[in-house]
């Protein structure tokens, strides 16, 4: 079994998949001709180029040495969680609570931070965002649930 660089093979397959998605997806739209291109023409061409590049990258992985980088699941989960919490809470309870919650969730990624540091930092960030974005810049975002 020949050696394969896992990073490059995954990169190639990812690009191949995205290219294939756009290439076959373009079949839903009228193609037109070279002189009168329909909405499907350019995405189809791009999809074809993408698939070609994916194959080139993947073949470059063969007989090469490499190692997959480690994924920091804790960082990914806390940052993704923070953004999701913000998106869910903002339209329901307003900016101040949403920023407090998002900041608190994002800080769970930091093992060294105790709950007191998390609470104080998040409260200060919520306060800064409220003053900066709503009181000073006047963005039309609800500050509290009473404004919705």
């Amino acid at each position: 079994m020949p050696r394969i660089d896992p990073v490059e093979i995954l990169s190639g397959l990812l690009i191949l998949a995205v290219g294939a998605f756009f290439f076959f997806g373009a079949a839903e739209y009228p193609m037109g001709s070279m002189s009168r291109m329909g909405p499907g023409y350019v995405p189809r061409g791009l999809g074809a180029i993408g698939m070609g590049l994916g194959v080139i990258i993947a073949t470059g992985a063969i007989r090469m040495h490499g190692r997959l980088p480690s994924v920091s699941w804790r960082s990914v989960a806390t940052i993704a969680g923070a953004i999701a919490v913000f998106g869910v809470l903002l339209p329901r309870v307003g900016l101040v609570v949403a920023t407090f919650a998002a900041s608190a969730v994002s800080m769970l990624g930091n093992r060294d931070a105790g709950w007191r540091l998390v609470a104080v930092t998040s409260a200060i960030i919520a306060l800064i965002c409220w003053i900066l974005f709503i009181l000073l810049l006047g963005l039309s975002i609800p500050a509290f649930w009473t404004d919705i």
Binding site: V7, V18, V42, I79, V88, T121
Partner: protein, 508 residues
């Protein structure tokens, strides 16, 4: 003379109290974010973009441009003091800047980069003044074939010139262009690839894409690497005074750096990073003491810093005159103009002269502010580097979320930033460069539009574009670039395999 009256009119706009205040705010925040290791000018501009939505377009651009060149300025501070480049284009400054810190001479290095940056910026602005009106005049005669060819050349250059893996760079450009096709088709109005979401009919939110790819993925990466608390040396005024020998050795590298920077900055697709590397390499070759490089040679920071700032200013030339952003940060700038309903291009200088000339004047004022700001405030920036990242990143996450949400008051876009943040993280782990993706996303729809129009004019005959002098030359150059990058790929593969053989890792 017309140029002088334009310059004077520009300064009149730039010195209005509001513009001055926002210029100051821009360079201040830019230096702040630039000095923080990890946050580049691209992330800084993207994160501060929402603050400018409610400003007048000229003021908004003045502030964002201030953030851009302020961040490039500030980035050298952490290169020199911590050996961590604040922005990718300051990486070269580490080579000789950090050894100077180790010798206890960080003050001299910080002072020298400030002077070199100011000179480089000034040179870039002079070039912008003289070249931009000429190119804009010339570009009025461009047809869709010329635009198509310039953009394709820019995209291929962005993907191949600075990358060690050209195929992956090209793949990022193509993925960006594919993301750019999402949304309603311009001629028929058919919604392409909307995944059933009506929010995607206007296309993918540019802000969500940029902030997710650069801001969010950057934070995930930074918090997963535990950085040790840095030791930082105090910088006093006294310590900034260079030796007489260093003063004598500085001007020529600074001049050469500015020329190199301005050239690469003005080309679409190549940007400050490559300019700094070339500036450094040339100084090392020309020096009578190349062995001093890497051990704290003043030439090794003068030339790249001057090149960096000249390139930053010159990058505005293709953006403002052709509507073609030369780098990912310029793509964000152009996105900002489009949000304000202004289409950059050759008409910009005739239709909105106040924006062009006001902005150009503000550049010089901003550079002057940076010069004044940086010498006395270096101590403050140095102390800033001691803010723990652990309390900074939650604030940045909140700013990103608020910024994305305000563009269209849409929780959907917050979901998009999450998606692109995760995508950016995966792509970084797979060693893809993200900047070409953003350039592809911005230029993709324009490439498609001009390609369609050109093919309509030439009745589907692709070769007709090769017969026109400008588009033909550019397309041939593009083909040569592609050939060259194939050669680079083959050579890299050989080297890597040879290396693997040496350490006994290759099979067979």
């Amino acid at each position: 003379m017309d140029l002088w009256s334009n310059i004077a009119a520009g300064f009149q706009i730039a010195v209005s109290l509001e513009n001055l205040a926002y210029c100051f705010l821009g360079v201040f925040l830019g230096t702040f974010f630039g000095a923080l290791p990890g946050i580049g000018s691209l992330a800084a501009v993207t994160m501060l973009l929402p603050l400018t939505f409610y400003l007048d377009p000229t003021t908004a651009l003045v502030m964002l441009a201030g953030v851009y060149y302020g961040a490039e300025y500030g980035g050298s501070t952490s290169s020199i003091l911590l050996n961590l480049p604040g922005t990718p284009s300051n990486a070269v400054t580490c080579l000789d800047g950090y050894p100077m810190t180790q010798q206890g001479r960080s003050g001299v290095a910080l002072f020298a980069t400030t002077i070199a940056s100011f000179w480089g910026g000034t040179f870039g602005i002079i070039l912008l003044y003289t070249l931009a009106p000429v190119i804009a005049q010339w570009a009025l005669a461009f047809g869709p074939a010329e635009y198509f060819a310039i953009m394709v050349f820019g995209l291929v250059a962005a993907a191949t010139v600075t990358q060690d893996a050209p195929a992956k760079g090209m793949a990022m450009v193509v993925v960006g262009m594919m993301l750019g096709t999402i949304g309603a088709d311009l001629t028929t109005g058919i919604a392409r690839y909307d995944f059933g979401y009506f929010e995607l009919h206007d296309g993918v939110s540019f802000i969500a894409l940029a902030m997710g790819l650069f801001g969010v993925s950057e934070i995930i990466l930074s918090i997963s690497q535990n950085v040790d608390k840095p030791f930082i040396q105090a910088v006093t005024f006294r310590s900034m005074i260079p030796t007489r020998d260093e003063v004598r050795r500085s001007p020529m590298p600074m001049l050469r750096g500015a020329g190199i920077g301005a050239f690469f900055g003005a080309l679409p697709g190549t940007g400050p990073s490559i300019a700094t590397f070339i500036g450094y390499a040339i100084e090392k070759r020309l020096s009578r003491h190349p062995e001093q490089f890497g051990k704290g040679a003043i030439e090794g920071i003068m030339s790249p810093e001057s090149a960096n700032n000249a390139a930053v200013q010159a990058a505005f030339i293709p953006t403002m005159t052709l509507g073609i952003p030369g780098s990912a940060t310029m793509a964000v700038m152009m996105g900002a103009l489009l949000i304000h309903g202004i289409q950059p291009g050759p008409q910009l200088m005739t239709q909105n002269p106040e924006i062009f000339w006001g902005l150009a004047a503000s550049f010089w004022i901003g550079n002057l502010l940076l010069l004044i700001l940086n010498i006395p405030l270096i101590g403050v920036w140095v102390r800033l580097l001691q803010i723990p990242y652990g309390i900074l990143y939650p604030a940045v996450i909140c700013f990103i979320c608020i910024g994305v949400y305000t563009v269209r008051s849409s929780p959907f876009d917050v979901g998009m930033v999450l998606f692109f943040g995760l995508l950016g993280y995966v792509l970084r782990l797979l060693r893809f460069e993200l900047a070409p993706l953003l350039i592809g996303f911005i230029l993709g729809p324009m490439v498609e539009e001009n390609f369609k129009r050109a093919m309509l004019i030439y009745r589907g005959d692709f070769w007709a574009m090769l017969e026109r002098p400008i588009s033909g030359t550019l397309l041939v150059m593009t083909a040569l670039l592609l050939l060259w990058s194939v050669w680079v790929m083959i050579r890299n593969r050989r080297e890597r395999r040879a290396h693997a053989h040496d350490i006994g890792q290759a099979d067979d």
